[in-house]
Symmetry: C2
Subunit: 588 residues, 2 copies
């Protein structure tokens, strides 16, 4: 009963008509060859893979889950075959550098690909999901010898990768990591410092599986006599199978019984004097890992959007089919009937349009951010790269936390559309609720994102980078005015004004009350998320109002609903940011 249709019309319309992606790409030599036909074709093939190959494995994979036997994980039926097709199609290399065997096809296309994969099967996508981050770390921090051995296999997807960070006592606080790395005497460090890695890691996605013959673990660890805390963390590459073909001392001791993404093996890993090689400088492992985590955070943001999109589609379809009670208001010319589609009932329309408005707004923000990432990575002018990079750094925590919130809560709202059927596995939507929850937690919990945004990205430079971003967003209000969308311009300006005001208040008051920002960081982030949606809806309205094409009409209607019905929620978040003298007792 659960279905998935790739939102290709929206993606294509946004990239071309709304965001003018070709202009961004034309300014970047590495992307200048990307023409509309290629973009459309890549998206079409990605959508086909997601809908036809992956989506059918989603519900069965949830029921079957993974099994661990004799230390080896078996993934659900069909996962191996789907992964083989994924590799064969060259999808892992989509956004990788040509010198590493990649296709360098724009982060925007990669984001769109990733959205569709997760919509179709979040659990499956966990396996290749960390590949790109691991590739980035190795590309930028690996010595040539390691790159030669591993980079090509990772770009092609022939070998998969993991991020081994968490330990039982070290989750959000990686400074508490205890896993040890002991340098090997007499080895030649020119080929990467060889180490023996010992320790236990938990919550390792794809720590073991049967999709690829080798798995490349990137392990956060501690050299002897390293300083305590995060400044004593190093990063080691530890393969499951060593270059000489022997099995490394890397063991999967257990897999978690989880709420969702049951087809993804979440492993307890034990490294027992395992052979590995340091990546990057000793004690600078966290910096290298952050490169991986930033890429991963944008991917996690796409997971939020992916769940929101899939849930929205299924709710719309079900509400159009399910007939219950006569609607108080009916479309003109509707034939009399004993009962009407529930989609006609006003409260349902509120729910369905709210979901659609959030999904399209989030998608525009995601593609916009991915295009900024293209500029940050590929633009010939360092100043342009810097500014785009600043935007991405600011937007990443907002998108990670806000989209995953929207995705999970949107799936939960969509479940309600199905009534009692929503609670039953056959209709698929309850799986969306369960699968989507993890995205609010991993790659830095949403509370961690909020603190990262407010402290590190906004307040620490006195708001400089933020103000540049807001100036740029404000240009859309001018465009809206020029296009006769005065109400949208006003709504956007009001949000930007509230954003600047809240930021200034925090800048002014943080010395006198250092805890203030921490108390209200979640509200600040959610307010920013809504303000960014206001920008997205204004942009969609301006770019599509008055056009007759179905996608343009959908955007116009969704954006208007967003501004009218969803945006008011921003007010309470801004209000709470200004809450200072309020009760927040210690816990007894």
């Amino acid at each position: 009963m659960w279905t998935y249709e790739p939102p290709l019309p929206q993606m294509n319309f946004m990239l071309r008509q709304v965001l003018d992606a070709p202009a961004t790409w034309a300014a970047c030599p590495a992307l200048a060859d990307l023409d509309s036909a290629t973009v459309q074709e890549v998206l079409k093939q990605a959508g086909r893979f997601a809908a036809e190959v992956l989506a059918p494995t989603n519900a069965p994979g949830d029921l079957q889950g993974c099994t661990l036997k004799d230390g080896a994980v078996t993934t659900p039926t069909g996962f191996r075959e789907a992964y083989a097709q994924f590799v064969q199609g060259g999808w892992p290399a989509l956004a990788c550098a040509p010198e590493a065997g990649g296709q360098c096809l724009s982060q925007a296309l990669n984001a769109a690909l990733y959205e569709m994969l997760v919509s179709a099967n979040h659990a499956w996508t966990m396996y290749p999901g960390l590949l790109h981050g691991a590739y980035e770390v190795l590309l930028h921090h690996g010595v040539p010898h390691l790159k030669e051995t591993y980079l090509g296999k990772m770009t092609s997807g022939e070998w998969l990768a993991t991020m081994c960070l968490t330990e039982a006592q070290a989750g959000s606080d990686l400074g508490l990591v205890r896993t040890k790395a002991q340098p090997v005497d007499g080895a030649s460090p020119a080929n990467g410092v060889p180490v023996r890695v010992s320790g236990n890691k938990i919550f390792i996605s794809g720590g073991d599986h049967d999709l690829t013959p080798n798995i490349v673990h990137l392990v956060l660890c501690r050299l002897p006599d390293a300083p305590a805390g995060t400044k004593g963390l190093s990063l080691a590459l530890v393969p499951k199978v060593l270059p000489d073909g022997t099995r490394n001392a890397v063991h999967c001791d257990g897999i978690e019984k989880k709420m969702g993404i049951k087809g993804s093996a979440t492993c307890q890993m034990r490294f027992d004097q395992a052979q590995g090689w340091l990546i990057g400088e000793p004690n600078r492992g966290l910096a290298a890992m952050f490169l991986m985590m930033n890429a991963a955070r944008l991917h996690v943001a796409m997971q939020g959007l992916a769940h929101l999109e899939a849930a929205t589609q299924n709710a719309w379809r079900y509400a159009a089919e399910r007939v219950q009670m006569r609607a108080a208001q009916r479309p003109e010319g509707a034939a009399p009937a004993a009962a009407d589609p529930i989609a006609w009932h006003p409260a349902m329309r509120r729910t369905l349009w709210t979901l659609r408005a959030q999904a399209e707004g989030a998608r525009l923000l995601a593609l916009h951010t991915a295009l900024r990432l293209d500029t940050a990575e590929q633009h010939p002018d360092p100043a342009e790269r810097q500014q785009a990079g600043d935007d991405v750094a600011l937007l990443t925590p907002v998108l990670k936390a806000f989209f995953t919130h929207l995705g999970h809560h949107g799936a939960d709202e969509a479940l309600g559309v199905f009534g009692g059927y929503g609670f039953v596995h056959d209709y698929g939507i309850e799986q969306s609720v369960r699968d989507s929850r993890i995205a609010m937690i991993y790659e830095g919990t949403n509370q961690i994102q909020a603190v990262d945004l407010l402290q590190r990205k906004v307040l620490d430079d006195g708001g400089t980078r933020l103000n540049r971003l807001l100036d740029r967003l404000a240009e859309e209000a001018v465009r809206c005015d020029a296009a006769g969308q005065g109400a949208a311009a006003t709504a956007l300006r009001e949000q930007l004004r509230a954003w600047r005001q809240a930021t200034q208040a925090l800048l002014d008051g943080r010395t006198a009350d250092p805890g203030w920002a921490l108390r209200v960081a979640d509200d600040y982030l959610h307010a920013c998320g809504h303000a960014l949606l206001a920008w997205a809806w204004a942009t969609l309205l301006r770019a599509s109002a008055g056009q007759d094409a179905p996608t343009a009409r959908l955007f116009t209607q969704a954006a208007q609903v967003g501004l009218d019905w969803v945006l008011p929620q921003a007010g309470v978040h801004w209000q709470r940011v200004h809450t200072r003298e309020a009760a927040l007792p210690w816990l007894d």
Copy 2:
């Protein structure tokens, strides 16, 4: 890792010091004997049963689920034994009438009992959960012969009962029910009109199980030549085992694979010329059933509170134990440490106190409403009964929808406190999220509750009953002023003003725009829920501020957090109620 501690201190303090329950009971002859010692003892024993007998079966029951074999359902290990103890303890009869073998011990105690049962094991509580409603229907609508056979067995809990309403095509819209009842020729209707019932029902909680030797089904059905729609529905009592000991033609054809409450068998039932007897008048079945549903709706509200309470407890406990990162602010005198309890981190404190504020506010509202139900049922003065009944009718849909919303979303927030561990079954909180979702759907979806509240309870009598309720709630503002709680008085008055204003606007505008109320009914209900919480927090503050007892201090702090941090959310709901000229397109 999941634990449950009955909130006895809060319940006792609320009943005695805050709500002065003994005064309510003293005015009702049937309840006048209830003394404080009895109340404390009943609550203590109920809490012991919940925590010691039921709670240990909760997580295992979720993993094991129910099985159907050869048409018979087996419940998870331990459910039978727990139920036997429940019956032995006399718990099913707690609020039943003495003439039916009940103890008539106040609806407030029954509500408290029910909260604790659901906190300890929601799935298990589904089995006895419908008993009281079925008892009410039979008590008020059954002919003496049926009462003789069934009422005593139900009061004692020896036999359990079901509500067979839903069919595949008839969920929220019961007018579409097709199950047939054929009167039996030549039988004697004085003992209840005998009928043969045929049809298929779905989503029948406890449709079959192994807890009791007989199950009493109350089946919504249609007599031959009955009018279409809800005015042609009759109600039949159809036992699993007939009075002569033979098995009736009632079959369980399947059980659902669900998101949660997996220990509760949700059955597909087939009635195949099953023998039954009409209850109540022909074609008046829905009216009789509504008696059952109203009782059930208050019970479902308690389920929301129960999940909120259990999730809040577990989140507080985990946050006090789990150590991650140094807190930016630390309690005075705290010893230096590499990392602090996450409960000290400001964002966590927001989350934890928000949950506690909602739980205590909801509990006070629940007990208050249950005491109004005592008055409605037992007061000697018909005018008092009428007014209390009006209050209960108004409050029931708010509590059902708002509390179940708070329960599910509160459990979801609490999951976040656990970080990655929250997603893993061992910690229990992900089960709370899954189990709590159904309460927003059954016994009338929360959207249905919102329409019931606004259309039937508020607008249809021009706001008369509502204004009486609001006048009564406003008295608390006077008490707050007198007690030096001026800020709480102001917050409460502001909510009541917004409530009256929104109601008046809808009364004035509904003729010109009949769809308006339906579009904003959900926001109206959530705004009312927040306004009622404001009343609860003001009441708690006034009754406990300045006292040194731990419970009083908890109430003072929780109420203050509620007013400062949670109540602002009311504003956006009131604002949306006034939204008229906003986009809400038809779906294409």
